[in-house]
């Protein structure tokens, strides 16, 4: 029981904030790792801390990447939003399709970002795609894939399920929220719609 009690004390919102910002002392981080049973209200505390440090008022539903969140807008739409405030549209469409993209296709271009010359990938086999936020130009993702590989939709969260499991079901829950709608966007592009 003592171990559990210690863990409970460590999983405070103050410590969570430091963990998120990378300033939590190692001993405390290790203490969190060693909790035998994790604090079950972590998700709620996490969202609260994230909301408090956000620079915009939209309600955070989940965090999906270092700079990216799915937020609920006033019109109940759920969109991906960057720390800087840039929005990427419906979270069911791969947010990378709303980024600026830089592609490195030559060894010289790859050498600018890979600092050991002996392990630079073969540009005949793969290209490197860097995805930037159009608002703040943060590098949000990198893919190193063969030419023609579909943009990787790394994570599609089942938001309704996580809120149900937390005992806070969302009022507008529907199976449609857990659908990949990326190709709706590419279909529009194929028709010449930007």
């Amino acid at each position: 029981m003592a171990k559990q009690q210690d863990g409970d004390n460590l999983a405070t919102k103050e410590n969570l904030l430091q963990l998120i910002e990378g300033t939590l002392p190692w001993e405390t981080s290790r203490g969190l790792m060693r909790m035998e049973n994790k604090d079950e209200d972590r998700f709620q505390k996490y969202i609260e801390v994230l909301q408090e440090r956000a620079s915009w008022p939209d309600k955070i539903l989940v965090r999906i990447a270092e700079h990216l969140y799915v937020v609920q807008k006033k019109d109940k739409s759920r969109v991906v939003k960057c720390t800087c405030g840039q929005e990427f549209g419906d979270y069911r469409v791969n947010w990378k399709l709303s980024c600026r993209v830089r592609v490195r296709k030559t060894e010289a271009e790859l050498a600018e970002v890979i600092s050991l010359d002996k392990v630079i990938p073969n540009p005949e086999l793969v290209e490197a795609r860097e995805f930037y936020c159009p608002g703040c130009l943060a590098q949000l993702a990198v893919e190193v894939v063969p030419v023609g590989y579909p943009v990787i939709f790394e994570m599609l969260p089942d938001i309704d399920q996580v809120y149900r499991e937390q005992g806070m079901p969302l009022p507008d829950q529907s199976p449609e929220w857990f659908e990949d709608r990326t190709t709706e966007q590419t279909r529009l592009w194929a028709k010449g719609v930007k």
């Binding site: 600092s115 063969p146 790394e154 990326t182």
Partner: protein, 733 residues
């Protein structure tokens, strides 16, 4: 119903296994056990019983390993023991090579499918072994031994052990042959077979190890080591039967399984974000021009596609490999055992907190592995030596990344953790001594201590992770040298600037370098299990970092290193070695630079063999890295000042070995780098249009095109690919 009643109801082992699977699936509980009766009746007794099981497996490993000769066993503990139920499940496993626990049930299932319980019987003193992936082993190097535990005539369970041997007798020497188009040249594979009776190994079996592999005596000792552990564990469990009764032991093991299954389910549900995660990887395999006139069907290169998609939800995980490359004549074909082995290497560090290592989490998984693909071969003759490697890369490497993202999203940042047991880098070698004795071996040093990827709150670790041991350990360099007599280790340390950069930097790559010393008339070495640097470790980086860097090696021939060493000079680091080459201090007639696995390269006295091991991904945008972290890397000589400026935009100066970053200059440089990003990029819609043209016009490298050809043959992945590029239905490759 108690387990013993099920045992009466289903007569053969195979029937019981089938019944266990269907009852567990339908009820959602192991063997339908919803209430832990023994535990509830007397929790203290149950706890004592469980501790006895755990002590039996731990004791077996800690003692038996000293029977072996290889430093991989004695020093690094590259072995694992597991107590198994009658149907093969592991309620208690030892530490060590833990992922292998999850393949033990498959091997017992193979025993059952072969009908051995009926034809040969389950007899006291019988010894069974297996290392063939077709029957459940991850690859031929992973040799399994299991013996029945029989108490007063009643079969109570199995005592199993496995270790990774040093040489399997394949076309390419070592533990993991790197050219093996088919099973005929991949080494000494054997199905489930009886290798001894009355607790003694058959003489022919020991002779077989000596004749069919290049490290016969070492393999014989490994074999005896596994048997020793199994017998020790069996005897401890017989004592437990004496104290608790056989029925209690059988029922108790089942209750432990259900306890652990439900605990894992709860943790998975509570800690992870439900959702769909996609983390593919591509793996180059290069055979073209390497096999001469042999195996014309394998005279080509591949870029194998492993498109893992994992869906987490309702306390379960579904693994989906639709779209994977088809099986073919190379060494990366993978059966279920390999994948399950890798998967548990990912699950254990995250979800196991108690004292039991176990296989109960297998019942929380579903697998979709298309038949005829590289992850579920339909051709039983295709090669498999690197199936375990790919099991790690997909089951562990990709799954750790899935879990890391799922934990991060749920707020458990402290548990985010990923590394690459897949880049074992078990390099192989063989030769002939001056007296004419042939020999062969592998060196596992880099298996024992890999670097880890950056986490959501800190840099990746250096030599801090191992899929094989709870404690990282390269083993003693001098001990390894005794197993590889012609190789003298001259460099063993981190490789400067070898990392994936990010807000948090990935773990640093590692260099091993050897000089060849008096090798005898014949000697060759090959780099194996090496993540190929022609691509990155996986297709995705993490949150804006680049994916992990692959692996390279150098074979430096005809050097003057022996003369330099005679004067007492050796390079201390890879950087110094490079400086010496550039300045002409170190001369060489030829330098062969390889990426990933290599064929065996003949080497002579004075040649140098360098391994540049991989470095996993960072986390986040490099331009978010703090000045303090950049200074720390410079102070520790992990990165150069040039890299600090180019990648991080940090202008740093050194004063008495301490580096200081000019904050104002850094901010200015970073603003410029962001402007560069804007200038060099286009909106995704424009990029998509241009890339689509390449797809429509089929402008693919010949090694890449088969990925899409196979993908189109798969209904699910093919549909996804066609839709993404808005391709006409008539499109084909």
């Amino acid at each position: 119903m108690e387990i013993k009643e099920f045992h009466k109801k289903y007569e053969t082992l195979h029937e019981r296994i089938e019944a266990r699977n269907s009852i567990t699936k339908e009820s959602g509980h192991y063997w339908g056990i919803k209430k832990l009766t023994l535990r509830d009746q007397d929790p203290v007794k149950f706890d004592r019983f469980n501790s006895r099981l755990v002590a039996a497996v731990l004791g077996a490993r800690e003692t038996a390993k000293y029977v072996a000769a290889s430093p991989a066993m004695t020093g690094m503990g590259e072995l694992v023991f597991g107590l198994q139920t009658r149907e093969g499940d592991v309620p208690a496993g030892s530490l060590g090579l833990v992922g292998h626990n999850s393949t033990m049930p498959i091997i017992v299932e193979s025993f059952a499918k072969l009908g051995y319980d009926v034809s040969a019987g389950i007899n006291e003193g019988d010894i069974w072994e297996c290392n063939d992936p077709y029957y459940g082993a991850p690859h031929a190097a992973d040799c399994f031994t299991f013996v029945p535990i029989i108490y007063k005539g009643q079969h109570v369970g199995w005592s199993g052990g496995v270790n990774h041997i040093g040489e399997v007798g394949g076309l390419i020497p070592g533990a993991v042959p790197t050219v093996a188009p088919n099973v005929f040249v991949e080494g000494f594979d054997f199905p489930v077979l009886r290798s001894g009776q009355n607790d003694e190994l058959y003489p022919w079996w020991l002779n077989q190890w000596r004749r069919r592999t290049r490290a016969g005596d070492s393999n014989v000792l490994d074999c005896k080591m596994r048997l020793t552990g199994c017998l020790m564990m069996r005897n401890r469990i017989l004592e437990v039967c004496e104290e608790f009764g056989a029925d209690y032991v059988i029922q108790g093991m089942a209750e432990v399984m259900e306890r652990e299954r439900s605990t894992m389910e709860k943790r998975l549900r509570n800690w992870t974000m439900p959702g769909r995660y996609s983390f593919p990887l591509v793996q180059p395999v290069k055979y073209k021009g390497k096999l001469g006139l042999l195996f014309p069907e394998a005279n080509k290169d591949w870029l194998l596609h492993f498109p893992l998609e994992a869906t987490i939800g309702n306390g379960r995980v579904k693994y989906d490999f639709n779209g994977a490359s088809h099986d073919d004549w190379h060494h990366y074909n993978m059966y279920l055992g390999s994948f399950r082995f890798g998967v548990n290497l990912a699950w254990y560090p995250v979800f196991i907190v108690g004292e039991n290592m176990h296989t109960a989490n297998i019942y929380l998984m579903e697998f979709d592995r298309p038949h005829g693909s590289v992850v579920n071969p339909s051709n039983p003759f295709v090669g498999t030596p690197s199936s375990a490697v790919m099991g790690c890369r997909t089951g562990q490497g990709l799954m750790m990344r899935v879990l890391t993202r799922a934990l991060f999203s749920k707020g458990y940042l402290e548990e985010t953790f990923a590394f690459e047991a897949s880049d074992f880098n078990i390099y192989g070698m063989s030769g002939v001594f001056e007296d004419g004795t042939p020999w062969g071996m592998s060196n596992f040093s880099l298996v024992g201590a890999q670097c880890s990827a950056a986490r959501a709150f800190m840099d990746g670790g250096i030599s801090d992770a191992s899929g094989q041991n709870p404690e990282t350990d390269y083993g003693e360099s001098e001990e390894w040298e005794t197993t590889e007599p012609p190789l003298l280790n001259i460099i063993r340390g981190i490789t400067k600037d070898a990392c994936s950069h990010g807000k948090y930097r990935g773990g640093m790559g590692f260099t091993l370098a050897h000089i060849v010393n008096q090798p005898g008339p014949v000697f060759s070495a090959n780099d194996g299990c090496a993540m190929n640097a022609e691509v990155t470790s996986h297709c995705c980086g993490s949150n804006g970092s680049y994916p992990g860097l692959g692996h390279a090696s150098l074979f430096i021939r005809g050097t003057n290193m022996a003369e330099l060493m005679a004067k007492g000079e050796t390079p201390g680091t890879y950087e110094e070695l490079q400086d010496w080459l550039k300045s002409g201090k170190l001369t060489a007639k030829e330098i062969i630079h390889c990426k990933g696995e290599t064929v065996a390269h003949p080497l002579q006295h004075g040649d140098i063999f360098v391994i540049l091991a991989h470095a996993p991904e960072g986390w986040g945008d490099p331009l978010d890295r703090t000045a303090q972290n950049i200074e720390a890397d410079l102070d520790r000589d992990l990165i150069s000042a040039g890299t600090a400026k180019k990648i991080y935009g940090a202008v740093a100066t050194q004063n008495k070995e301490k580096w200081t970053v000019d904050l104002a200059a850094m901010e200015k440089t970073r603003q410029k780098l962001r402007k560069d990003r804007e200038a060099a990029s286009v909106p995704a819609s424009e990029w998509w249009k241009a890339e689509r043209e390449a797809v429509l016009n089929k402008r693919f490298h010949e090694t890449v095109a088969p990925i899409y050809r196979d993908g189109l043959n798969n209904e699910k992945w093919g549909r996804k690919w066609r839709d993404f590029w808005a391709l006409p239905e008539t499109y084909s490759l």
